[in-house]
């Protein structure tokens, strides 16, 4: 789960990580007032849950409250990388001498938490990893020991020789690690951490992503979620216990299992059509779940055909077929439905579905994907 910069900033402030003063606003008037109150140049930052805001024009420097107002007018309610900007974070502007990168994440291959620093701050760290990997310094944390202060000191000294700065950066690294560990994060990042011309350290940005699997033990974090920006169908699916991701195509897919769902989408694309979604109905593929999945797919107005690909394993295909029939009998279906059932008792399952109006039965995944393509292209 991602949160906004201003929310991450509040967590940083509570933990004592030095950050420029800032306040969040929803209107240009509010932005102007905050800038007036501060009486100094400010940075006006669009609050959206995607990276690369600067390049996309979502971050502007303003030397007067009027300039801040004008910048806010341009940014608020505009679309940044396809996302509507509803909030602006107004932050005190600071002079910049050096820009560093600090981050904590999980290294999947090493199965460890890794604390990273780089002197190449201010740019996308993935870009640095591709072009100048030698500029990223990493420390892999021993899971039973945690991140010790001498380890933080050593990592910080990869950035500067100035002893006071090393101390300051090491303290920030330890604080970031503590946030990461205590709040079950998958990413905590400061990019950039700046040294001002006066020699102070400031976190100019704040980014935190939480591990969805751990939200159950952090109810205070769940309340930070902004449901308004999430796709309403995705929210509905989540409530029904269905994994659903909306895409741009027109072939709605209902599949059991995440891997099989992805493989089905890939095949749709392989035959020259576009999947409308990723959807995993979960284990069992009961009539109730399939019914809920159908409702979600049918709410997507772009869908022109529905492809159902179910592997009947422990739940036998004939039972899955009955479930499908039941789910269909309760709904108005005007779209062609391509069904592919395979696995245990597949013959019996197919027999039950044969001859039902609007249903095309396919023997293989390939045949089903091809049929779906033909239906939407005809």
């Amino acid at each position: 789960m991602k949160i906004y910069e201003f929310q991450a900033y509040e967590i940083f402030i509570k933990r004592g990580i030095p950050s420029p003063w800032g306040e969040v606003a929803k209107t240009s008037e509010e932005v102007k007032k905050i800038a007036e109150k501060l009486g100094r140049p400010v940075v006006v930052k669009a609050q959206v849950l995607v990276g690369g805001r600067g390049k996309a024009g979502g971050i502007k420097l303003a030397s007067t409250p009027e300039e801040a107002y004008r910048a806010a007018e341009r940014i608020l309610n505009s679309k940044l990388k396809g996302i509507l900007v509803k909030r602006i974070f107004v932050k005190e502007s600071v002079s910049i001498k050096e820009e560093y990168y600090l981050g904590v994440t999980v290294d999947r291959a090493q199965k460890r938490v890794v604390v990273m620093v780089s002197p190449a701050g201010g740019i996308d760290i993935e870009e640095v990893a591709r072009t100048n990997p030698e500029k990223i310094f990493k420390f892999y944390v021993n899971p039973l020991l945690g991140f010790r202060s001498h380890q933080a000191d050593e990592l910080a000294s990869a950035l500067t020789k100035d002893k006071n700065l090393v101390k300051g950066i090491a303290k920030i690294l330890s604080d970031l690690y503590r946030i990461f560990e205590e709040m079950d994060c998958s990413l905590v990042e400061v990019n950039p951490l700046v040294i001002t011309k006066e020699g102070s350290l400031f976190a100019l940005d704040a980014k935190i992503i939480f591990d969805d699997n751990a939200l159950y033990r952090h109810p205070e974090i769940s309340s930070l979620r902004d449901l308004e920006v999430e796709d309403p169908l995705e929210v509905r699916a989540k409530e029904a216990g269905i994994s659903y991701v909306k895409l741009e195509g027109n072939i709605g897919c209902i599949v059991n299992g995440a891997g099989l769902a992805m493989a089905t989408m890939d095949l749709v694309k392989h035959y020259g059509a576009e999947p409308a979604n990723f959807l995993d109905v979960g284990g069992g593929a009961s009539s109730q779940q399939v019914g809920k999945a159908l409702d979600i797919i049918l709410s997507d107005e772009q869908v022109r055909a529905v492809l159902v690909n179910i592997f009947g394993g422990i739940t036998r295909c004939d039972i899955v077929a009955e479930g499908l029939i039941q789910a269909l009998s309760k709904r108005e279906m005007n779209l062609p439905l391509i069904i592919r059932l395979t696995g245990t008792n597949e013959e019996e399952g197919r027999k039950k579905l044969k001859g039902i109006k609007g249903i095309f039965l396919a023997a293989t995944m390939n045949e089903a994907a091809k049929k779906a393509m033909e239906v939407v292209k005809s």
Partner: protein
């Protein structure tokens, strides 16, 4: 021979009294797996499907000499179950549970390894050596004993592939579902190493998906360390970046973990990649013909 599980497997079920636990205990018994004990704290003394239930893993191991454990415990208690099995000296732990926090797994994987045990999963379908033992939730009936090793991050996609293999008379030595989470006990390479040493296995099918770089590492390993042929299938070519595709680990983040990158790496090392589950059968047939 097969890997990880066989007729010497003496299985303990953690969470045996739960809905999933008791259902799959029946399924595993029907397949012929020696399920010899179950554990649910506070429910010791009962019998589930004729299997004695104990309060602790230590007691169960003491009484029954169980050497393998399968975990069906809910996410918030599953890590504790892994630690308990490890401390009781269980050498192979298979964790089916989905939804365990990643940082819990970072610690658990480290501890399990430190104690010399092996962990498969979490968020996996388990392990099956057809004709010998089934330690998982996969449908036993779609499998057939043979000489193909299967290792996969997925569940139903593996069933799909196995089903097609069996239908075309290609049996399997062992099928291992390693799990769909970001941090898992055994990676592709850990399992590939075992298949390379296994006399029953002639060729291996690797089923990967978007997220992380485990497939890329595996491709390098296959190229430099393996003599047996490997065929790959990668799911998620159409997955958008930044979105979790069902599995917690199936996410493209910061430009890494794309299917394209993974497929490119396999191709660079001349490892055949199937473009659909159905095509796996053709590729298998080709490599087996080649190697005789």
């Amino acid at each position: 021979m097969s890997i990880l599980v066989d007729s010497n497997t003496r299985l303990l079920v953690q969470g045996i009294t739960g809905r999933e636990g008791s259902f799959h205990t029946r399924q595993m018994l029907d397949y012929g797996t020696k399920v010899i004990a179950g554990v649910t704290p506070g429910k010791g003394g009962q019998q589930i499907e004729g299997v004695p239930v104990y309060d602790t893993v230590k007691e169960a191991v003491g009484d029954t000499a169980a050497n393998t454990s399968i975990i069906y415990v809910p996410a918030r208690f599953a890590t504790e179950a892994i630690y308990e099995a490890t401390d009781a000296g269980i050498k192979l732990i298979v964790c089916i549970t989905e939804g365990i926090p990643t940082l819990d797994m970072v610690k658990a994987c480290y501890y399990v390894k430190l104690k010399g045990s092996k962990l498969i999963g979490p968020n996996c379908a388990g392990v099956i050596s057809p004709g010998k033992a089934k330690v998982g939730i996969m449908p036993g009936s779609i499998h057939k004993e043979g000489n193909l090793g299967v290792v996969s991050r997925s569940g139903t996609l593996t069933y799909e592939v196995v089903y097609n293999l069996t239908k075309n008379d290609f049996g399997q030595s062992t099928c291992v579902s390693i799990g769909g989470d970001p941090v898992i006990g055994s990676s592709f390479i850990d399992i590939l190493e075992l298949f390379e040493e296994d006399s029953q296995t002639k060729a291996i099918i690797l089923i990967g998906e978007i997220g992380g770089t485990d497939e890329e590492e595996a491709a390098k390993f296959i190229h430099s360390k393996m003599r047996k042929p490997v065929i790959a299938l990668i799911a998620g070519k159409t997955a958008p970046p930044g979105k979790r595709m069902g599995h917690a680990g199936a996410i493209i983040s910061g430009g890494t973990g794309t299917a394209e990158e993974k497929i490119k790496t396999f191709q660079k090392f001349s490892i055949p990649v199937a473009d659909s589950p159905l095509q796996v059968v053709d590729l298998v047939s080709a490599v087996l013909d080649e190697s005789g």
